[in-house]
């Protein structure tokens, strides 16, 4: 058998098979989105006032993307780079035309045959929409033409250099962002009394005005051209910093975010606050699950159980309407009990599964999640948990007084810690010399901490007099603030644990449980600890959820919650705090939680579909997640890492040369 040479890429010679497959795929995706009613639902929402609705936008990207991908030619190393030109454009146009034709065919077919009893969403209105309000036959032809044009656009993209390409992409992204956040900015401008600005940008709740869209596109594109690479440069510089400096930078950054989080809600307006509170809630649970899955490597699919325990404990302890036991505690009084119950639940779930691994663990925990929900729903516990009716009138989380106490208490702790640091620093100063290492205490550090503690005490004592934050579902601002505080606590806990003896033990256990055990790690304690800490963090989420909603039912604690939290962790980047934060922002912020809306309210119905698509895409293209921890990306790309990562760095190259020289020396 002779080896076939790679297909020549001269002139207009295009890969016919790829084009046909791509076109059919594009057509299928478009028809599918139409058939499930997405196009029609989304048509309600305008992106740019007279010309583009979200409905059409849901279709427009398809020929562009497929046109782009199909006409892409892979440059193989060591081979002549494929020439870009008319061939790309033609391939793109063909893909678009095939896709458009298929969608047109779909429109004609559903117009002729009534399939509404099977596909509910295929309405005459949809057909009308797809054929641009023309007769179907004309519409179908139009679709072919439009598809071809858009596909060609995708092909043309190859002619631009990467900078221009990314400028265009960022222009489009900013237009989408502005139009999606119409309600948010509307609220903010309202709060700031700048309705006229609102009028200028948005066409009265119907998307961006054409002018605003052009300005935004231009601005974003210019910005991208001008500042491209700056951000990644900053990131690179940050990563090049010494460990100590990096840590303190990260800490200040987190502190700034926190401060902004405490101040901004008053500007944000209720809608954004609501969305962000949901984001925070899921971020909190993502951080907790990340401890269990990302750090300790225990795939827990029943995580929602701990969320439920937190919510129900809060409900029972605070609501006057909880059937049997109704101590009517205040939220903060109930909180220690919530944590205690969660820790117990963690032990109860963790103990039987200690010796299980991988798939078995996942299946058993999945069952535990369901069992928890069924228990809360069961009739024989109705006396305590209210059965299917749930518990109403959950106590308000009035935090003005308690929060003050908490702040004072942490101030006292800080004073104490600061004093210890100060003393330790003095001791080390006296010993001097090599005993002084980075990470060690210094007297200055001690004094700083003590000063912080004093500040906190004063702030905490004064707090009740100037702030009255009462958390109920109504005051979205207060809810969001409170969620922020809890997220900060969770992030702090997991950040500190990661680089400690406990964190290392988890890591080792995730790598090789048997060896970890032979190296002296008690895997039973390590696993239970992971479960307990994960459970406690989830229960905080549950408690907040309960006061936020004010009423809880067993139906709020379905498996899908566990799955969505897990998807956040996976999409964001397992084992990475930043990743979980980004994952929650992107998924929950834009698409919304299982029952809560995100910025894109229209996506409500299609959320799970999109979650699935995103998950599959990530698994294929970027299994380490959006912002992975260094460790995880190494793990998933061991080979590439082996090949180049080290040699690329300067000292790496030097070290390699050095070792080679050494080896040559020894050889002689």
């Amino acid at each position: 058998m002779t080896t076939t040479l790679p297909r020549a890429t001269r002139g207009l010679d295009i890969d016919r098979r790829k084009v046909i497959v791509g076109g059919l795929l594009a057509g299928s995706v478009a028809s599918f989105l139409s058939a499930i009613g997405m196009v029609e639902t989304f048509d309600e929402r305008m992106i740019i006032d007279p010309i583009l609705s979200l409905g059409y936008a849901a279709l427009v990207w398809i020929p562009v993307l497929f046109g782009y991908r199909v006409s892409q030619r892979v440059a193989l190393e060591g081979m002549e780079a494929p020439r870009v030109g008319a061939g790309n454009v033609l391939a793109g146009a063909l893909v678009g035309a095939i896709g458009g034709g298929m969608l047109g065919l779909f429109a004609v077919l559903v117009d002729a045959v009534n399939v509404r009893n099977v596909l509910l969403n295929v309405t005459p209105a949809l057909v009308d929409l797809l054929s641009f309000h023309q007769p179907v036959a004309v519409g179908a032809l139009l679709l072919v033409a439009v598809g071809a044009a858009l596909g060609a656009l995708g092909g043309v993209a190859h002619l631009f250099n990467p900078r221009v390409k990314s400028a265009i992409v960022s222009g489009v992204a900013w237009i989408l962002l502005f139009s999606f956040t119409e309600l948010v900015f509307g609220d903010i401008f309202d709060d700031l009394g700048m309705l006229s600005v609102d009028r200028l940008i948005y066409a009265a709740d119907r998307g961006l005005t054409l002018g605003a869209a052009l300005v935004i596109f231009g601005g974003a594109a210019l910005g991208s051209l001008r500042f491209k690479g700056r951000a990644s440069g900053a990131v690179a510089r940050f990563q090049a910093m010494p460990e100590e400096k990096r840590r303190s930078r990260a800490f200040y950054f987190a502190a700034a975010v926190m401060l902004a989080g405490l101040l901004l809600p008053s500007v944000f307006g209720s809608y954004l606050n609501e969305v962000l509170a949901t984001v925070g809630l899921f971020m909190l649970m993502g951080i907790g699950l990340n401890v269990v899955v990302g750090f300790a490597g225990l795939l827990d699919l029943g995580y929602v159980a701990f969320f439920a325990v937190g919510a129900y404990t809060t409900a029972v302890l605070t609501s006057p309407l909880s059937p049997n036991i109704a101590p009517e505690m205040a939220f903060f009084e109930a909180l220690p009990f919530v944590l205690l119950m969660a820790a117990l639940a963690g032990l109860v779930v963790g103990t039987p599964v200690i010796r299980m691994r991988g798939d078995y663990l996942a299946i058993v925990t999945l069952a535990f999640g369901e069992i928890a929900r069924l228990l809360f729903q069961a009739d024989w516990l109705k006396g305590t948990f209210g059965g299917a009716q749930g518990i109403l009138r959950i106590g308000k989380g009035s935090i003005h007084t308690y929060f003050g106490y908490v702040v004072v208490a942490s101030g006292v702790v800080a004073l104490l810690v600061g004093f210890l640091r100060w003393r330790e620093g003095r001791r080390l100063d006296r010993i001097g010399g090599p005993a002084r290492l980075p990470g060690n205490s210094t007297p200055g550090l001690g004094i700083t901490i003590m000063a912080g503690g004093l500040g906190a005490i004063v702030f905490g004592l004064l707090f009740p007099s100037f702030a009255t934050w009462t958390v109920t579902g109504i005051d979205s601002e207060a809810v969001f603030r409170m969620v922020m505080v809890f997220v900060a606590i969770a992030a702090f806990v997991s950040w500190r644990l990661q680089d400690s003896r406990v964190g290392r033990a988890w890591m080792a256990m995730r790598e090789d449980e048997q060896v970890a055990e032979s190296m002296g790690i008690n895997v039973v304690t390590a696993k239970l600890l992971a479960f307990v800490i994960g459970a406690m963090l989830a229960s905080l989420g549950g408690a907040l959820f309960a006061v936020k909603i004010g009423t809880i039912f067993p139906a709020s604690f379905k498996i899908v919650q566990s799955i969505i939290i897990l998807v956040i962790v996976i999409v964001g980047g397992m084992g990475s705090l930043r990743g979980v934060a980004i994952g929650a922002l992107v998924l929950i912020g834009i698409l919304g939680g299982p029952t809560q809306t995100g910025l894109l309210r229209e996506f409500q119905e299609y959320k799970l579909l999109l979650y699935g698509v995103i998950l599959v895409y990530m698994m294929l293209q970027r299994p380490e997640g959006l912002l992975p921890s260094a460790r995880r990306s190494r793990e998933l790309h061991q080979e590439e890492f082996l090949q180049d990562a080290w040699i690329k760095t300067q000292e790496g190259a030097a070290a390699v040369a050095e070792v080679a020289a050494e080896e040559a020396e020894e050889e002689r």
Binding site: S500, R501, A505, M519, G520, I533, Q638
Partner: protein
């Protein structure tokens, strides 16, 4: 009192007698080699001592106390540490992290001190780091410097073996069990490691049991040699005694024709 005193150690896998009542002792400061043909039960011997499998029967006295059937982490804590025939590092942890995590059972700071980073916590972390670096220094510059922060999987095969020994040392045991430490090494690396095994005793004060196939290594390092075959001890003594023992030669070369089958 011997450091480790084993009597009647037996382990069976289904119908297969991997260990059929082995007696074994080692004194503080000795280096003893365990040899035997493939499948003789040498690794199983280590696995039962280190607690990976509980033995079916037999007594394992370590410092006079029976450790048979304890969990591996308990045994590690008592002072027995091991390496594996098929190197088993924590591949995605860095070289330094590998030796740091091995000190788990010698350290004690838990969740709360980690959360508040108490002085005691910071001091202990620093000690762990220093001891880790010190242990890695046992192999010259092979595992130090820029290597500290490399993930273990990038190491060459020989370096992985070295790191595994360093990890076992970092647990600060009294008894080291090395399972074929020179397997897969080239002659030069083997020679170097042979010297280092001697130093494990002379410089670090470890007592060492080593499973080894390379007879030169066995000759050079061991005070005493124990030969296993089909799960039973068939000979014991100095290298010279054992290498001239008829049973041992038969075990390695097979029975001469005419003396019965298999």
């Amino acid at each position: 009192m011997p450091l480790l005193e084993i009597s009647g150690l037996a382990k069976q896998f289904g119908g297969l007698k991997a260990l059929g009542g082995v007696d074994f002792t080692i004194d503080e400061g000795e280096i003893v080699s365990v040899i035997g043909p493939n499948g003789a039960g040498k690794t199983t011997f280590f696995n039962t001592i280190s607690g990976m499998y509980p033995p079916d029967s037999g007594v394992i006295l370590f410092e006079g106390e029976d450790i048979a059937g304890l969990t591996p982490d308990r045994i590690a804590k008592r002072g027995i540490s091991r390496t594996y025939q098929n190197v088993r590092l924590f591949p995605n942890m860095t070289v330094l992290e590998n030796v740091m995590v091995a000190q788990h059972c010698r350290t004690s700071r838990g969740v709360f001190s980690a959360l508040f980073q108490t002085p005691a916590f910071l001091r202990e972390e620093e000690e762990i780091r220093q001891r880790g670096k010190e242990v890695l220094g046992f192999f010259g510059t092979r595992l130090t410097g820029y290597r500290f922060d490399q993930p273990a999987f990038v190491l060459s095969y020989a370096n992985r073996r070295r790191l595994e020994i360093a990890r076992a040392m970092a647990a600060q045991p009294r008894l080291l069990l090395l399972d074929e430490p020179t397997a897969g090494m080239n002659p030069r690396e083997t020679r170097e490691l042979t010297g280092l095994i001697g130093k494990l005793r002379s410089e670090r004060g470890f007592t060492v049991v080593v499973i080894e196939h390379d007879m030169r290594v066995v000759r050079d390092v061991s005070d005493r040699v124990v030969v296993l075959d089909h799960g039973v001890k068939i000979a014991e003594g100095t290298y010279e005694e054992v290498s001239s023992n008829d049973d041992v030669i038969t075990a390695y070369l097979g029975r001469p024709a005419g003396e019965g089958s298999s």
